[in-house]
């Protein structure tokens, strides 16, 4: 299949096969249309950017009146290198732009860059050790100064400095940035790096002006007046900001993209709760757009029925899933439970894990709990579509679970709970306090009971469960329980930082203060090998195949049971045309928002 694929992509590149023909043939091979276009895009045979962003119709700048956005969490800071939460990153993004952002389909869209680097335009080095960004010319900061390569290099120095203590430092400290000329910078990597689009890209990539921050690039970084009065390159200029309340901006008459922005003024109001935010948009129409609608789908549907606004659902990589502990949470080794030196007495039997996977009714979760905000899935890695495995299936069958357990010799005791060699199938199942999660727990418990498995439900307050408090035994990274459930997010359109959750060197343990990413503590030498291979594999098609194999391995082991995808849900007025992407900040392309009249 891989060879066929390659030949066909080659024919498209040479022009002997049309793109549409390619997509049709791929469909015959069982590859979905979006995946086929993705394949073309990543191999450079299609103009990716042209299709990935919806059409922008307005033919002149301004005249759109006010744009009012509602966030139920308020932003507190306007420096992209300090913003520790989504709201702050979004608010900074109103003023600061990266070199490129992630479009909804998981491809790069150039913003301050003149073009997206590729092997064809010599932006990417063949050996994967560097990427050269050509900057857009004629871009000006809001105060009239010119934007140049010096600003880009300064951002690297600023973000990686330990004295500044930037939250983005992880993306900058391991790379080297060189100014080639006034409008070209080169990012150099120590090893061949297939995922090169991290520094200066998307949420961590907002470029701040050197001339205003250069005196605040040390431990005095927090004193910079520009932290609260940003001067960026974006479509909207700063007017006023009250931390934790509201943010106002106005159209930038000198924006570097023609006919943009559409709106004259912008207001982002923070605070309150999600339900009333949905009402303010869809029912009263006081606001144009409301962010992150963590509201029951039932309510959203009722509000939509009013006909004023609609719900936007954008697919990303977030997934709600269940972990079956690979280690024993009830035995203490060297002051640590769930130690990697132990094995889970029941889950080491594949039949028990298989039964657990058969006992969760994902259809019910989708239908009765999550609605459009949680489509059932069999994969851990779901998006972008080019990385989605077609090999996994999910099934809900209590009968099959019973058969599997019977065959493996787990016999029901007098209380109806199965046991074997003194090990009883009685598990502690923990998650955070959150209504949909408690309902999922109840559904799972009921089904498990019918297969002779008892689940003891435990719910921990979110602020404890998701904290990194080393002294607290109830954090999700400690995983002092048999089964646990939460949502893991995928911040980039590349799965490298997502699939590292199952490599052996990331195992969460006392030695690393439980900061390892592999919380389920599953180990596989083969997985480690494939992951390492993916880190140096420069061929995008081969690399995608490696990630699909990794997904199939973890899901196939049943230590990981994917439940539902969690797309981002927001509300907007029917007439508003927002450009949304789950791979980047909500306001990633605010310059292209407009209103139909």
């Amino acid at each position: 299949m891989e060879d066929d694929l390659r030949q066909m992509i080659g024919r498209v590149q040479r022009g002997t096969l049309s793109r549409r023909g390619f997509v049709r043939r791929m469909a015959a091979l069982g590859v979905t249309a979006p995946m086929a276009t993705q394949l073309l895009a990543i191999t450079g045979a299609a103009p990716a950017a042209a299709q990935s962003v919806p059409a922008y119709r307005p033919t002149r700048r301004g005249g759109g009146g006010p744009l009012k956005i509602l966030y139920w969490q308020a932003s507190t800071l306007l420096n992209p290198h300090f913003g520790s939460g989504t709201t702050n990153q979004d608010a900074s993004r109103v003023f600061y732009e990266p070199l490129a952002g992630w479009a909804p389909d998981g491809t790069l869209h150039p913003i301050l860059a003149a073009e997206v680097p590729s092997i064809e335009n010599r932006g990417l080095a063949e050996d994967g050790r560097s990427v050269t960004w050509k900057l857009k010319r004629g871009v000006k900061w809001h105060d009239g100064q010119d934007f140049s390569a010096d600003d880009v290099v300064f951002n690297w120095e600023y973000a990686k400095s330990p004295a500044v203590a930037a939250v983005t430092s992880g993306s900058y400290r391991d790379v080297n940035v060189v100014k080639v000329d006034d409008y070209t910078v080169r990012v150099e990597f120590a090893q061949p790096t297939p995922f090169w689009a991290d520094a200066f890209v998307a949420a961590v990539g907002g470029i701040i002006p050197k001339h205003l921050f250069k005196d605040f690039a040390g431990s005095n970084a927090r004193d910079a007046p520009t932290n609260l009065r940003p001067v960026g390159t974006s479509a909207y200029k700063f007017v006023s900001f009250a931390p934790g309340d509201n943010l106002r901006a106005e159209a930038n008459p000198n924006y570097h993209v023609p006919n943009r922005p559409f709106f004259d003024t912008l207001e982002i109001k923070g605070g309150g709760d999600a339900v009333s935010a949905a009402r303010a948009v869809m029912q009263t129409g006081d606001y144009d757009y409301a962010w992150n609608m963590q509201v029951e789908d039932e309510i959203l549907k009722r509000l939509e029925a009013a006909g004023r606004g609609r719900v936007n659902i954008v697919e990303g990589g977030s997934i709600e899933f269940v972990q079956l502990n690979a280690t024993d949470p009830h035995t203490e080794v060297d002051g640590e439970r769930s130690s990697i030196r132990t094995q889970h007495p029941a889950f080491r039997d594949p039949a028990v894990r298989q039964a657990m996977a058969l006992l969760i009714d994902r259809n019910a979760l989708e239908q009765f709990i999550y609605g459009r905000g949680g489509p059932a899935t069999a994969n851990f890695l779901n998006n972008p579509p080019r990385f989605r495995s077609e090999n996994m299936r999910w099934e809900f069958s209590i009968q099959k679970a019973n058969e599997a357990l019977d065959a493996a010799g787990w016999v029901r005791g007098r209380d109806g709970i199965r046991a074997k060699d003194g090990v009883r199938l009685k598990f502690v199942y923990q998650t955070s306090v959150n209504a949909p999660r408690q309902r999922t727990q109840a559904i799972y418990k009921q089904a498990a009971q019918r297969a002779g498995i008892e689940l003891e439900l435990k719910s921990v307050t979110a602020s404890v469960f998701f904290s990194s408090d080393v002294a607290n035994p109830d954090t999700y990274t400690k995983f002092y329980a048999d089964v646990q459930m939460y949502t893991t997010t995928m911040p980039q359109a590349d799965p490298e930082r997502f699939m590292n959750q199952y490599v052996s060197w990331e195992i969460s343990s006392k030695a690393n203060n439980w900061q390892g990413r592999n919380i389920v503590r599953w180990r596989s030498e083969e997985y480690d090998r494939i992951f390492r291979e993916s880190q140096s594999e420069l061929d995008p098609v081969k690399r995608a195949a490696l990630f699909i194999r990794m997904n199939d391995m973890v899901v196939g082991s049943n230590h990981i049971i994917p439940l539902v995808r969690r797309p981002t849900v927001s509300a907007s007025l029917n007439s508003l045309r927002p450009v949304l992407s789950a791979w980047d900040s909500t306001l990633w392309l605010l310059s292209d928002w407009w209103r139909e009249t």
Binding site: L70, A74, T76, L77, F82, S84, G85, T86, P162, A165, V167, S169, G170, S171, D198, A203, V204, R222, N227, L228, S240, A242, P243, G244, D245, N246, R248, E267, K269, G271, G272, D273, S276, R279, A280, Q283, T284, D286, Y287, S463, V464, F466, S467, S468, D469, N472, T477, T488, T489, M490, P491, Q492, R497, F498, N500, Q501, N512, N513, Q515, R517
Partner: protein, 319 residues
């Protein structure tokens, strides 16, 4: 009098120190840190977060952090907010005008309802007016503000579409229009808080007046043939005010502290919403500053109430 004041102020110092120690310890024992959201973000390596914690001095022992905070506070430095990296006093000052405007007006509204209604009801006990006022007062303070708030939003904003339910600090209008817009957006939070407070106070005023109205000096005044109006105002209300003054004075710190639930419902950017968002974000310097200022105000207004007693009732003296 001066001696009395001095003594009271001296007593306030150990209580404030005690309050600050307890607050600080409780906050230090609470789980989590301001960088929780980073913990679930795979793009941020754990050591970056550890660095951030260290840069804010969050890994030092509790007592060291406490003394550091205390000495800074004594020098008048309120510290930096962990999440917005600006001085805490600036954050509080930004919120103060809205808080005082909204919460202050609601307290005035409450007084304007409670005093006349309470006094009038007490002078005619068990009349129809008294019964109706009593019933309404009971309903008023049994309904929690989050309930009446939502009810008002449903009625006035969503069904009737008369009033906005999102409070905005930057109104686009000027002049009379600005006042009108301001009135429209503040009326619901003020009503919700004012009616709730007013209902509770009405009951107090009524019972305080009832206690006084049966006393001998009132009967004497009546026997002298003084007009009823004058009896009520000069001889009854003034004496009945002593317990009411205590209540109202102790309520004053709330004007500063804001109303957490109501502010959240109407998105009023007051000190209450600052406090709750700081608590949710584990922003210790902000929580400390707000709670500490509130405790200072409680102690201060206690003193004010005690001094007001002397003015209302000359028999009380200070030694």
């Amino acid at each position: 009098m001066t001696q009395y004041l001095l003594r009271r102020l001296m007593i306030a110092i150990p209580s404030l120190l005690g309050i600050s120690v307890i607050l600080f310890t409780v906050l230090a024992l609470a789980p989590g840190d301001p960088f929780e959201e980073l913990a679930t973000n795979p793009a941020i390596p754990p050591d970056v977060r550890a660095n951030l914690r260290a840069s804010l001095g969050m890994d030092d022992p509790v007592h060291e952090r406490y003394f550091h905070w205390l000495f800074a506070m004594l020098r008048g430095e309120w510290g930096f907010s962990f999440v917005s990296r600006i001085p805490v006093d600036q954050l509080i000052l930004q919120r103060l005008p809205t808080t005082i405007a909204v919460i202050g007006s609601s307290q005035i509204l409450a007084l304007c309802i409670a005093l006349p209604v309470g006094v009038f009801a007490a002078t005619r006990p068990y009349s129809v007016f008294d019964q109706v006022a009593n019933t309404l007062a009971f309903i008023g303070f049994s309904l929690p503000t989050f309930f009446t708030g939502l009810l008002m939003i449903l009625l006035f904003s969503i069904t009737l579409d008369w009033l906005p339910f999102v409070y905005r600090t930057n109104l686009d209008a000027t002049g009379w229009r600005w006042w009108w817009e301001q009135f429209r957006q503040s009326i619901m939070p003020i009503m919700v808080l004012g009616l709730f407070q007013g209902a509770a106070w009405t009951r107090y005023v009524r019972s305080a007046v009832l206690d006084v109205i049966r006393l001998d000096h009132v009967t004497t005044a009546r026997a002298k043939g003084l007009p009823e109006r004058r009896i009520t105002i000069r001889h009854v209300v003034r004496n009945a005010m002593i317990p009411v003054v205590t209540l109202v004075a102790l309520q004053m710190p709330a004007v500063f502290g804001g109303a957490i639930v109501t502010e959240q419902i109407f998105r009023v950017p007051g000190i209450g919403s600052l406090l709750i968002s700081a608590i949710l974000a584990n922003d210790t310097p902000v929580i400390m500053a707000v709670t500490f200022v509130i405790s200072c105000l409680v102690i201060f207004f206690n003193l004010v109430a005690d001094i007001l007693y002397g003015w209302l009732d000359p028999r009380i003296s200070y030694r």
